[in-house]
């Protein structure tokens, strides 16, 4: 057993940490939080210029060919620097998901076309899975793609994505409505600049912009079909083993915890520093314990992936645990800090900004509570996965 990184990995960690330190400034973070885009084009281009977009892509395809551990180090350092979520989301989908899918499922021609453009930053891809009528039951997708000559014609909607930041949408589409639901799905890499695509904003409770992408008679060439026709569900499952250790969410929680810790050391209630109240100390210990424990779960997922073992179940454990631990931390911290956490910081006036502790951190985290436990498989779906796949309990 060994829990230490190699010299090379430590050097990589240092390099990446320095990169994020120099590119993700406090001003940039304030700006993207205020405008709700969570996006900075220059920052994304800086990632591409450094070829960080290619770290998970094998060398044979012009990538850096790094392993899961190195990938996780990168993601963790990004999170530690509070890399805006729009950037990390597009980056993850484009470079760690679609690139892998193109390599595994794509034709030689597709690889030659897409990979250099994904790496250069010319193509940025968002994930088009969820529809207004289907989330957890993903195989029920209803967006229709009908073959017509050299094209598919798309009609339907994808929601809760980052379409406004992307050039393409990996679109899980229904190509055979007469087949059983898992057997009539295909994956299309749809260009969002095509005629008939409309993108509408969806504003989340946090104030982030997400989008609904509406396809109305949109022509997508058959060369954009990734994998086999009507085998999309199985292809999708086969590429689901991308990095999903959740180390980023642990790192984010750790950053928040450090700020909370600093605050309770200094702030007083009724003349006594918050950190001196036994109930506060107890809550802090629980937060810290759950960070260490959550980090170990994530580390184990990475190790399983890095050594070619099945990490499906553990990825579910960590997702479930870490998203729920984030809720516990947020609620406990709000109780500790009290009504000051109610003060808005984002888009608020000077008085608000003066009083809101930690730039409204807890206020924001409260608004974020549900997101973590819904996107990427709800807590309930994770429990179903654990029960049926890991514990082999009968399906209901």
């Amino acid at each position: 057993m060994d829990f230490t990184l190699t010299e090379e990995q430590l050097a990589w960690q240092e390099e990446v940490r320095e990169f994020f330190r120099s590119t993700v400034s406090e001003e940039l973070l304030d700006r993207v939080e205020e405008d709700g885009t969570e996006w900075d084009q220059e920052l994304y281009q800086a990632l591409a210029d450094k070829k960080y977009t290619a770290i998970g892509i094998p060398e044979a395809y012009g990538g850096m060919g790094m392993g899961f551990t190195e990938l996780a180090i990168f993601n963790e350092e990004g999170a530690r620097a509070s890399l805006p979520h729009g950037v990390s989301s597009i980056f993850g989908t484009t470079c760690q998901w679609v690139a892998v899918a193109v390599i595994r499922l794509g034709t030689e021609e597709q690889k030659r076309h897409y990979l250099p453009r994904l790496i250069s930053g010319e193509y940025r891809v968002a994930l088009g899975l969820t529809e207004p009528g289907c989330g957890s039951d993903l195989a029920a997708v209803d967006l229709r793609a009908v073959q017509d000559g050299d094209d598919f014609i798309l009609n339907g909607q994808k929601i809760f994505n980052s379409g406004h930041l992307a050039t393409h949408l990996i679109t899980v589409s229904r190509t055979d409505p007469s087949a059983p639901k898992h057997k009539g799905i295909s994956l299309l890499l749809a260009d969002l600049r095509a005629e008939g695509v409309e993108i509408y904003p969806v504003i989340t409770i946090r104030g982030w912009k997400r989008t609904t992408v509406v396809f109305e008679d949109v022509r997508v060439p058959k060369t954009a079909l990734l994998g086999q026709l009507n085998r999309g569900w199985y292809d999708l499952m086969s590429v689901m083993d991308m990095e999903r250790s959740g180390m980023s969410s642990v790192a984010e929680r750790e950053v928040s915890f450090d700020k909370i810790l600093q605050y309770v050391k200094e702030a007083k209630r009724d003349g006594k520093p918050l950190a001196e109240y036994p109930a506060v100390r107890s809550a802090l210990a629980d937060m810290y314990r759950e960070i260490v424990v959550g980090r170990l779960l994530s580390q184990r997922v990475i190790w399983l992936q890095a050594t070619g073992q099945d990490a499906t179940s553990l990825a579910s454990f960590q997702k479930l645990f870490n998203s729920e631990a984030a809720e516990r931390l947020t609620l406990a911290a709000m109780d500790i800090i009290g009504p000051l956490t109610l003060l808005e910081w984002r888009n608020a006036g000077e008085t608000n900004k003066r009083w809101a502790p930690l730039k409204g951190l807890l206020n924001t985290m409260y608004k974020d509570l549900r997101i973590g436990q819904i996107y990427g498989g709800t807590s309930e779906i994770q429990r179903n996965i654990i029960a049926t796949r890991e514990l082999r309990l009968p399906r209901g």
Partner: protein
């Protein structure tokens, strides 16, 4: 390089222990001990000595096999699955580590091989009715008199106290030598020593040890006078093994619940097909995996000699949570069967609370977790 797996040797050891305990530690034995029909199985203890497991944490030069804390955790996870009864933890873990940490060379050479051979059972008498964790509150005293010491006080919750051939009694010095905490090797049949076992929720007996003017020869001080304060760290490391034991127990509780819920039919379905129960069992597994991660991490840190008091506290806390939660949920899943004394799950249900309460209290564990944060 990160490697979170067991070595081939560890996997083999795990397999051997599991096979051994399946054969040598049947439920009847566990139940007999629960019912106080017998105290432990000397025969099984002898066999464990032959396999080297009493010397698991004892260096080879003292007759052990020189395993580290990860090996220990692995052993204890299996022990927890089998509800291994007997004095292994008291003697081969707590006692041996106290001797190894504090004993002088003569004492190590004399005692450790005997512990490893199973020739003697040794345990530590630390807790008192009004003292658990703050060693400055210790009320058992020792007073120098001639070349020996007179020890007075009452110890409680002494594990395997009624089976022990030697007690390591923790006492503070009275008079000229200040409040220094020291360790005394006491034979339980010495004049003035009264050991009384008490029945407990978890089945295993814990002893009260009353020391009334017990005369301890000068060469029976473990190490030197004033050496004893570090005993808390030794107890803490030994308690990490209890955390691993709880992990094994929690896993069994889950396994039992899963098996039962696949067979038990209600509303024309196996009850395991109902999501209300599936989600309970998924939660149990998550708790268990959380405990597993931190236990082995703390064991690895401890083996490396790195600071690990906070992680050990987390491991113990998490294990207590996991075992308690898993056994409460499992007994609920068992329904009526879950309240029957004969059901295996109820053995774990009771053991879970017993083990958790034998650790440092939750608020003490939490303070240990916070210590590295300097808050």
């Amino acid at each position: 390089m990160i490697d979170l797996g067991f070595t081939e040797q560890q996997k083999l050891m795990q397999h051997t222990i599991r096979e051994f305990l399946a054969k040598e530690c049947p439920r009847e034995l566990v139940r007999d001990i629960e019912d106080n029909k017998r105290d432990y199985s000397p025969e099984m203890y002898r066999k464990m000595a032959d396999l080297g497991w009493l010397g698991l944490l004892i260096p080879e030069q003292y007759g052990g096999i020189g395993g580290d804390w990860v090996d220990g955790a692995l052993f204890y996870e299996e022990a927890g699955r089998a509800l291994l009864p007997g004095p292994h933890w008291s003697s081969a873990v707590l006692g041996s580590q106290a001797v190894l940490t504090f004993g002088n060379e003569r004492q190590r050479e004399e005692l450790l091989p005997k512990i490893a051979e199973g020739e003697i059972i040794i345990t530590v008498a630390l807790a008192e009715p009004e003292f658990r964790c703050d060693i400055t509150e210790l009320s058992t005293t020792a007073k120098a008199q001639g070349g020996s010491y007179l020890v007075n006080g009452t110890k409680i919750f002494v594990t395997s106290g009624h089976l022990a051939d030697r007690l390591i009694v923790v006492a503070r010095m009275e008079g000229g030598e200040g409040k220094a905490v020291s360790l005394f090797l006491v034979e339980p049949d010495a004049p003035g020593v009264a050991v009384t076992p008490m029945q407990t929720l978890g089945g295993e007996r814990l002893s009260e040890v009353v020391l009334d003017n017990v005369r301890v020869p000068g060469d029976s001080v473990l190490g030197s006078i004033g050496d004893g304060e570090g005993i808390e760290e030794v107890v803490d490391k030994a308690n990490l093994m209890l955390a691993a034991e709880m992990l094994g127990g929690a896993q069994v509780a889950l396994n039992l619940a899963v098996e039962y819920s696949k067979q038990r039919i209600a509303f024309d379905k196996p009850i395991g097909a109902f999501q209300a129960l599936q989600h309970k069992m998924a939660n149990m597994l998550v708790e268990i995996e959380c405990a597993r991660g931190i236990i082995y991490y703390a064991a690895w840190l401890t083996s490396q000699g790195r600071p690990a008091a906070a992680e050990r506290a987390m491991a113990q806390f998490q294990a207590g949570e996991a075992y308690g939660f898993a056994t409460r949920e499992a007994t609920q899943i068992f329904g009526g069967v879950g309240v029957m004394k004969d059901a295996d799950i109820t053995l774990h249900f009771r053991r879970a609370k017993m083990r958790q309460l034998s650790l440092a209290p939750p608020e003490v564990l939490r303070e240990r977790m916070l210590a590295p944060l300097a808050i």
